[in-house]
């Protein structure tokens, strides 16, 4: 039954079917992104000490927030999969993990671009930066693990368990590195307390745009994963049948 519903849900994105709703959504997110980009570059006031480079803040911070939303979805999907064994949770989990890794990568790349002119260095082994890097490695290994297990059901169960271990590890990583690095100066990143109200509004608008991208990407990736599940199943069945006829 799962495969049937998979095919049905996957069909929605194939050419020849009406996908005007999808197009409308994409256009809406693109519009939101354009407005958010305009506000970040022209509406938000220029920061007093850092100047124009501070505007990267409107892309950097929302990427991180969106990444955390994505990883929260991964954890919920992993738990739900183990409870229900509905493959849809597995598809959602991997989709959110990939999109989350993409957002973390954006965060890790925009961070040094911002840091270099402001702090004078590309990277510092500060608690937040180091744990962000470990977070990236954890979810990249989650995705690698999935690539290395062929049978769809085993892949779903095993990666769900690993995903739970990874999620439980994140606060421990943060605390240990925070204890470890407390003697170092703490760079202030996006100090909410002294944020200009216009800056705050633009930041939220940018986050909304990023979340729009997140939803679009996760949905698209989910369709692909549903199709891949079917293909993997068929391939395994074919291999088994081939072995049987070969044995005869």
């Amino acid at each position: 039954m799962a495969t049937l519903s998979a095919s049905a849900s996957a069909q929605a994105g194939t050419p020849g079917h009406p996908h005007s709703a999808q197009l409308t959504e994409t256009l809406l997110v693109a519009l939101l992104l354009a407005v958010a980009g305009y506000c970040a570059l022209f509406v938000a006031p220029t920061e007093a000490t850092m100047g124009l480079i501070q505007r990267i803040f409107y892309f950097h911070v929302p990427s991180w927030w969106s990444a955390f939303v994505a990883f929260a979805i991964v954890l919920v999907s992993n738990l739900a999969y183990l409870r229900s064994r509905n493959p849809k949770w597995d598809w959602l989990g991997v989709s959110a993990a990939e999109v989350g890794v993409a957002f973390v990568t954006v965060g890790l790349v925009t961070g040094p671009i911002w840091a270099h002119p402001v702090w004078g260095i590309w990277w510092t082994w500060d608690a937040r930066l180091t744990s962000a890097f470990v977070l990236w490695v954890l979810y990249v290994s989650y995705l690698l693990l999935r690539n290395l297990i062929e049978e769809p059901e085993r892949r779903a169960v095993i990666s769900a368990v690993f995903g739970i271990f990874a999620a439980v590890d994140i606060p421990l990583v943060y605390f240990s590195i925070w204890f470890f690095r407390t003697q170092h100066p703490q760079p202030v990143i996006g100090d909410g307390g002294s944020l200009d109200p216009t800056m705050g509004k633009v930041l939220l608008l940018c986050w909304a745009a990023m979340l729009g991208i997140l939803v679009l990407l996760v949905r698209q990736r989910y369709r692909v994963e549903a199709l891949r599940w079917d293909v993997d199943r068929l391939r395994l069945d074919a291999a088994r049948n081939g072995n049987e006829s070969g044995a005869r």
Partner: protein, 224 residues
């Protein structure tokens, strides 16, 4: 009781299998020794400086050794499909994992007991005066390594490229345990030795949290 007895029996089986050949133990001890000697080429191991590096070296080496030695834990069950036989037994599947965690912890501790005097001599450390406290750190750190290592060995044994996969999964998740054990050990080898409650606390928390997660979700890994 329903959990303790099968665990004890399976632990006996794991220890017996290993002590018949002592393959894992000998390779681990030789591997660690080799890495410690290789490290000595990267800096002067007789200097006072070495005391600063020694705790980190020790734990990194143990971590690397663990990522190699824990790998056969499940793969050697696959050769004759003995894991299927274990799963057929009318016992809590978590007992299989618990026995393997305990057995791997024992192997690692035996290897550490053999290596510690050599390590102390090579790097000129005064282990004697902090031995009791050092054992606490060793046991807690080893438990962290054995727990995560055994669970991830069950994970990697079901995938392709399993030899490469285990360290890849293990090392990032063990980051907090590595930092805590290294820092706690560094405190013990300070001029005025002290056992940092902060780092021991973190190790205890790490062990407790992951043992609980293993108890809750470990059995899913042994399905089918």
């Amino acid at each position: 009781m329903a959990f303790a007895r099968p665990t004890a029996i399976l632990l006996g089986k794991e220890l017996q299998t290993e002590f018949r050949t002592r393959e894992l133990l000998t390779t681990t001890v030789v591997f660690v020794l080799m890495v410690l000697v290789l490290f000595s080429f990267t800096f002067d191991p007789t200097s006072v400086e070495s005391r600063r590096f020694a705790p980190g070296l020790l734990w990194l080496t143990l971590l690397f050794a663990g990522s190699l030695m824990l790998h056969p834990s499940f793969t050697r069950e696959q050769t004759n499909d003995t894991l299927a036989a274990l799963r057929l037994a009318p016992i809590d599947p978590t007992a299989i994992l618990a026995a393997k965690i305990l057995a791997n912890g024992c192997f690692l501790l035996v290897a550490e007991a053999l290596l510690l005097p050599i390590f102390a001599a090579l790097y000129n450390l005064h282990v004697g005066r902090v031995l009791g406290r050092f054992c606490v750190v060793l046991i807690l750190g080893t438990l962290a390594l054995a727990t995560i290592g055994t669970v991830f060995s069950a994970i990697s044994s079901q995938a392709r490229m399993r030899e490469l996969l285990l360290p890849l999964l293990l090392l990032p998740v063990l980051t907090p345990a590595l930092i805590a054990s290294t820092e706690a050990t560094a405190g013990l080898f300070d001029d005025t030795p002290y056992l940092s409650p902060q780092w021991v606390g973190l190790l205890v928390a790490f062990d407790a949290i992951f043992l609980t997660v293993t108890w809750l979700f470990g059995e899913y890994l042994l399905e089918e």
